[in-house]
Symmetry: C2
């Protein structure tokens, strides 16, 4: 998915929110916004929002010397999610359809996001998503694909959401490779966050080699690309990975909440929609 | 009032909304956003948002060749407001306090704005404001000042809102000078809009000489400045004029709805607040 015009102001909102996390010095924040201006005036918009976003967050790191502005935020989200884990596990244990409930929870965890918003209410948003209808629901395809898949790749999104991913991974009997970002970018999960969330106990955690807020294949490591190319089933979480992979021809299931108007429009859906979308099925579904 | 960091993303939102009014060519709109980027990377933020906004809108006019993107929008707002005029006049006629009701209506008309928002519902917003408590209400001072004033200057804000201003001007027995923008800027009222709203029948309409979305004195004509300096009472409508004049030492009453977080914060109020503020009274009121 390529960047839309609406991404333009949004990059400044993201830059402002993130800069304020790192510093209260208005002079520094203004300098960041001005450098983002120069960068955006020169960058091509024929790429994904993730790729441009990567450049924006690099400016913030360079000018503040802080490589992980969301470090504390991420740790707090993981702690909150871990505290919910027993209760969520019980929901799965007592549900009629364990896999369906785990999929719903994995999507629900996608409300944890600081790229599209600077605040959210985990408990309230969770309940809302758990009772929300899917705007696209290829669950039957997902269940079937899962039965026949030997090699499963799960591409993570945000820290904290990782704990919700773990619940889904635990419902999958085959080995799962769980791929995270190479370096901190927004509140996206890194190796450290995956381990803190207990993913290393239930999957093979690896870095994608990529440090953009979405797994742009050009930036991924050869090691990751081998896993990606040989996977029978790929689970892609969140908007960033959707932006990066929506045009790829691989057996990808996208699990996400459409949290911004741009991604919602690209999907032909209302903002706030939740989806389990099988790649290649989109046009057929919408026609 | 100087520009705040939050104005930075907002300038891009305004540029995007306005550019889309003029053209649907994404290539042209992207070029506008990129030129706005270059401009903002170079401009000083030690000035008012109005002054920076003027530069942003000039870029749009230069790149599209359209000097008045809001021409049709403005005419439509004036028509809508004129259709309401008889009913609003009747409200004043049947009210217990004509001046108070006229002041309320003048502030209510300030919901007509395309700088802070791309849409509003005139009828719904009107009723809301008419029943809303003032966050700052120096009405008694206003009534007294009005009794003792010989020379009254009324600085207009938006087209359509002009009709609501007319209702207040009609309650003032002394001659009123009604000042509008020199050239089209956003949906701000010009001479043409004032005449279309019937202001020329009840006041002396003049241009301020200024073409920014707020009467920045440095950009105003000598003729306007003479009126401004000799006025016993100045009524300033809307955010743009507040931004430009809030630090001035003149007998100014600001009538506005705080429609953006930046102006609300500068006033120390909640977004959405409505005020009738006497200049110089702010600190006393808030302490």
């Amino acid at each position: 998915m390529k960047a839309y015009l609406d991404c333009y102001p949004c990059f400044f909102i993201q830059a402002l929110n993130t800069a304020r996390l790192v510093t209260s010095e208005e002079r520094v924040i203004l300098r960041i916004l001005k450098e983002v201006s120069v960068y955006l005036s020169q960058v091509s918009f024929d790429v994904t929002p993730s790729e441009i976003g990567r450049g924006v967050y690099r400016i913030i790191s360079r000018l503040t010397g802080v490589n992980d502005p969301y470090k504390e935020v991420k740790e707090s989200c993981i702690r909150q999610a871990l505290a919910l884990y027993p209760e969520l596990k019980q929901r799965i244990d007592t549900s009629e359809d364990r896999l369906m409930t785990a999929v719903r929870l994995a999507i629900a965890g996608n409300v944890i996001d600081f790229g599209t918003s600077s605040s959210f209410d985990l408990n309230r948003d969770l309940e809302e998503i758990l009772s929300q209808d899917f705007a696209i629901n290829h669950f039957d395809d997902f269940r079937n694909a899962l039965k026949n898949a030997a090699k499963i790749l799960y591409i993570a999104d945000n820290a904290g959401e990782t704990v919700f991913d773990r619940l889904l991974v635990e419902e999958i009997s085959q080995p799962v490779v769980y791929a995270v970002r190479e370096k901190p970018i927004i509140n996206d999960a890194t190796l450290e966050d995956a381990v803190l969330s207990g993913l290393d106990e239930v999957s093979d955690v690896m870095s994608s080699g990529c440090d953009s807020p979405g797994s742009i294949l050009n930036f991924c490591s050869e090691q990751f690309l081998r896993v990606y190319r040989s996977a029978d089933l790929i689970i892609s979480k969140g908007q960033g990975n959707y932006e990066a992979l929506s045009d790829e021809k691989r057996p990808i299931f996208f699990l996400l909440k459409a949290k911004c108007p741009v991604v919602a429009r690209d999907l032909g859906l209302e903002e706030g929609s939740i989806i389990l979308l099988k790649r290649g099925e989109k046009r057929r579904f919408l026609s």
